[in-house]
Amino acid sequence: MNTDDLIAALAADTLPQPGIAQRLVRSVPVALAVCVAAFVAFWGVRADLGAALASLAVLKMILPVLLAGLAGAVAIALAHPGVMAGRRWALLAVFAGMLVAAFVFQLQRGGLSGLVEAVAIPSLWVCLTSVPALGLPFLAAILWSLSTGAVLRPRLAGAVAGLAAGGASAAIYAFYCDQDAALFVLPAYGAAILSVALAGAICGPRVLRW
């Protein structure tokens, strides 16, 4: 088949491809449903949720959701060649920088011993395993959606997708977790979310090739 024939065949195909947004709309609710069902079955809501939502602990849900939104926006830009992602990257970087700054501030107040004391509790391992487990459905949904796009840097896009998925699952996990000390939440949630990003970076080149 020569190139002119191929062009004729391509031009005859007028069916639109499903876009990334379309796929996200279809897959993320499914991931959310799976995640919430698993959460209700195996984790369950913390006893003092009402009081927690009225306190600063509500940030444990809000900040990860923000992270998921910002990282998701970057991931979508990365799947559209020619779209400048500069501003989205900047927002994500500023947000991450603020979290790191908050952690450093808390660390200075509590000291290294305070950090060890806050982190060395059994909840740490629950957090480090729960967030990635709850994040897998989201990661699958986002990677599946991105795979219809044209990702030029699959490892990076996979990592950012993992960041978004980890943010979403951390927000859900926060309904269970009753550890509200900033010196625990920032490092533990951060490490858990980053591990999902790592999983995304590993899967990216495989899933997002085209």
Binding site: D4, D5, A11, Q17, G19, G82
Partner: protein
């Protein structure tokens, strides 16, 4: 491209025909040592990618950066894969032997192989549009399908082709 994404076949065809010579030069410039038909294979890879990824171009963005990004990705990919095969060495000899040009300088070799891998009907539909320039209605009448079914079959066949080429590159 805007018209093409809106379903204007003629405009889309014109666009593809207009960018093909440019893309061909890009491919040939990069793939100096490869034979002409290998370059044509890569060019067809690029065209298929432009087709299957055309929805990732934003209507309000300039087209050229998008086109180059897609083409560059495919060209790099394709040459990385083909460099691994023995074709390069053969082409060196081909230069020395000054082999006569093939019957059709625009023909790629890979596409025929892949069309053979499709199911016969899908390959027939692609050939019908490509080689014989059929319209949807003609194909539908010939195969006893509805026009909608022909459109879907063509769409699926092209998707499959793109996927098969990907696998070939791996």
């Amino acid at each position: 491209m805007r018209a093409a994404n809106g379903g204007d076949t003629a405009a889309y065809r014109q666009l593809l025909q207009a960018i093909t010579p440019v893309l061909r030069r890009v491919v040939q410039a990069r793939g100096g040592g490869l034979g002409q038909d290998s370059c044509e294979d890569v060019l067809q890879d690029v065209l298929l990618a432009i087709h299957t990824k055309r929805h990732t171009w934003r209507q309000d963005a300039p087209l050229r950066p998008w086109l180059y990004a897609i083409a560059r990705h495919k060209v790099v990919d394709a040459f990385r894969a083909r460099g691994r095969r023995v074709e390069l060495a053969i082409d060196d000899f081909a230069d020395a032997l000054a082999a006569p040009q093939g019957p059709d300088p625009l023909a790629g070799r890979d596409m025929e192989k892949l069309l053979g891998a499709l199911d016969p009907r899908a390959a027939d539909i692609v050939r019908g549009f490509g080689l014989r320039g059929e319209t949807t209605a003609e194909t539908a009448a010939r195969l006893g399908m509805t026009e909608g079914a022909v459109r879907v079959a063509l769409h699926r066949a092209l998707q499959t082709l793109a996927r098969l080429r990907e696998r070939m590159i791996e």
